[in-house]
């Protein structure tokens, strides 16, 4: 099986999906610019033309509505936001229209829209170019939300998102783009709503998604010598969430940490904690802990950035608090 990078897996998948299904098209800012979207759209314009690879004016609200309308007219748009921060302009179309349409019209028309939102943080980009909005988007009825953490998942979940009959928010993190993985050449899908155990362990469960899975595994590896055996679960889908995989794991370990690189207040950590607290209460031997960003906009200055983003060592210190020596 060929080893390719995360961003190459996305690029390959886009080529294959657009070749396979004439309903699929790509729309958004930067789709014809290599640097803007981390080389993920290379070659698409040449192969499929400007009719299906549509670089747009800076009109997030309008263009999101355009994608919604195209989905209503039997297309399968992939709408790209090169930075999630730009999505606020699009929230009306996402929440009041894409997420509500199928319900508010009694199931007559659906919106098979993939919203591809890129987290592009770090590098002193500061508050308006660094956000991770998975919690806000998971809050909204009518959306599914996925966050692939490996190149293999990047491909399989993108296929599932595009083939899904409902709006799916597909969130990736540029920090993952150079990560290599074995990725089959052919198209395959990964069911939305299924988590995965990335590392088996028996002392504590650490659940994470996207880039934080990588950090959680690093944390787990670094504690192995101390005899702390960490189980790492990759949520993969934030909505629907694989509750069972969490409950089963906590049943075994009795301890639970949720790691999410979003803000803590009413965040993914709060949601997952509530689920584990209410559905696995009798198996818990310690309080549930959260790792998240601080409740603050992202800073620019590098030394501040270094403490703003949680890393493996943040997870390690939380684990140490929970697991007795």
């Amino acid at each position: 099986m060929p080893k390719i990078q995360y961003n190459q897996a996305i690029n390959q998948t886009l080529h294959q999906l657009m070749k396979k299904d004439p309903r699929v098209f790509l729309i958004g800012q930067g789709v014809t610019s290599p640097w803007y979207v981390g080389q993920t759209t290379n070659g698409l314009l040449d192969k499929f033309g400007s009719r299906r690879v549509i670089d747009t004016p800076v009109s997030e609200n309008g263009i999101t509505g355009v994608a919604v309308g195209a989905a209503l007219a039997a297309m399968r748009p992939i709408l790209i936001f090169p930075r999630m921060d730009f999505m606020y302009y699009a929230m009306d179309q996402l929440v009041n229209h894409a997420g509500s349409w199928h319900y508010m019209f009694g199931g007559q028309l659906n919106v098979p829209l993939t919203v591809w939102a890129i987290i592009n943080r770090g590098g002193e980009q500061a508050a308006q170019h660094s956000q991770s909005l998975q919690a806000m988007l998971s809050h909204i009825p009518g959306f599914k939300v996925v966050m692939p953490s490996t190149a293999y998942d990047a491909k399989g979940l993108l296929v599932s998102a595009v083939e899904d009959d409902d709006p799916v928010i597909y969130i990736d993190d540029r920090w993952l783009y150079e990560l290599e993985d074995d990725v089959p050449e052919e198209l395959y899908s990964i069911p939305i709503g299924e988590g995965m155990i990335r590392r088996k362990g028996k002392n504590i469960t650490v659940a994470a998604s996207s880039y934080m899975v990588t950090e959680a595994i690093k944390a787990a590896d670094s504690l192995a010598d101390e005899g702390i055996d960490v189980e790492v679960i990759d949520l993969r889908s934030l909505k629907p969430l694989d509750k069972q995989i969490l409950i089963n794991s906590v049943k075994k370990t009795g301890r639970f940490i949720i790691v999410d690189a979003g803000w803590p207040s009413s965040g993914i950590g709060a949601e997952v904690s509530a689920i584990v607290g209410s559905e696995a209460f009798e198996y818990l031997n310690a309080p549930i802990m959260r790792v998240s960003l601080p409740d603050s906009p992202a800073p620019a200055s590098s030394p501040l950035e270094a403490v703003y983003y949680p890393k493996a060592k943040t997870i390690v210190s939380k684990i140490r608090e929970l697991v007795p020596k």
Partner: protein
């Protein structure tokens, strides 16, 4: 006059008259039902603007798409949406066009190309452009139409949508129903420049202003715009000058609140679209007085039947609450 009637057979005029009357009598009935607390969901009545929906939709094919706003009953009816399903929706019944999920502000009848109405001001404009984009990718000759009010032209997304549609020469027709009020605010208090059609020019798009109470004029202008769109000549903005007889929402006429004068309302009622067409049809001997009566009786019967249908229909079952949040499980 010769140009005005060139595309219109007496048959076509009769159909348009019937449609306008259907909207009018349906809306009057709904107004009464709201006053009787029979209908609970907020309804934004279309009375006074019937010529706009009727003239535009009459220029469309069944498979053309229509998107609408919170004031959508007229567009739904003019595009051919089922009257029973509309009344049932206002009653919150499971037989409603949106199965009791939408109410007055969220109507849809895809079988006749009425895709949906959005209660977010300007909310359906960009989706209408998106449907037009889909048609252009699919290389079909369908046209997408969106109705919105003068208030919607204050939204940024209106400019974004017009720009993108003009940039890509998409088959979409923007129909602005300028009824002089954005909720309770007069147009002179919400637009720095009240000449809406002119704003099409900044996007190098054709803009036309028509008497929105003259169904023939609306039809002719819409027909040209639709033809242009179908032939790949891009979008048109049509500003239809009209007036809503009732308040922003509900059956009252806003006179009691002092939001407008009795003189203003009387002036516009005198210039009302149905009266105008009746005069024409009579003067040209297209319809006799007895034919008018017959049409009115037929429409009254349809409206009464829709009410009976709505009343006897069941409510959605409680266990269906979460149906249709997602299509795929």
């Amino acid at each position: 006059m010769t140009e005005r009637t060139v595309d219109l057979s007496s048959n076509n005029l009769r159909t348009m008259y019937q449609t306008m009357l259907r909207i009018r009598l349906f809306e009057e009935k709904v107004g009464n039902l709201i006053q009787q607390n029979e209908i609970v969901c907020p309804c934004h009545l279309y009375i006074g603007q019937e010529a706009v929906a009727t003239g535009v939709c009459n220029a469309l094919r069944k498979d053309d798409y229509v998107f609408s706003s919170h004031r959508s009953h007229g567009h739904y009816v003019a595009k051919g949406g089922n009257l029973n399903a509309l009344m049932a929706e206002l009653y919150g019944k499971v037989t409603g066009c949106s199965k009791g999920r939408g109410g007055s502000m969220h109507l849809s009848f895809p079988a006749v190309g009425f895709i949906g109405s959005s209660a977010i001001v300007a909310g359906s404009i960009s989706p209408a452009v998106g449907a037009a984009l889909a048609f252009s990718i699919q290389k079909t000759d369908n046209v997408s139409v969106v109705f919105f009010g003068d208030g919607a032209t204050n939204e940024g997304v209106w400019y974004e949508s017009l720009n993108f549609a003009a940039l890509k020469k998409l088959p979409v027709v923007f129909v602005c129903e300028n009824n002089l009020y954005s909720t309770h605010v007069h147009i002179s208090d919400h637009l720095a420049d009240t000449d809406i059609q002119k704003k099409a020019n900044i996007f190098r798009m054709r803009g036309v202003q028509v008497n929105g109470n003259d169904v023939i004029e609306v039809f002719n202008v819409a027909k040209k715009a639709v033809k242009d769109a179908r032939r790949g000549k891009g979008p048109t903005l049509i500003e239809c000058m009209t007036y809503r007889w009732r308040g922003h929402v509900g059956p009252n006429d806003d006179l009691e609140t002092g939001l407008r004068s009795k003189e203003e309302l009387s002036y516009w009622k005198e210039k009302g679209p149905i009266k105008k067409l009746e005069k024409l049809l009579l003067s040209r001997n297209f319809l006799s007085k007895s034919e008018f009566l017959q049409i009115r009786r037929e429409v009254e019967k349809e409206v009464d039947e829709s009410l009976m249908f709505a009343k006897k229909s069941p409510f959605p079952s409680e266990n269906s609450l979460l149906d249709n949040v997602f299509k795929a499980k």
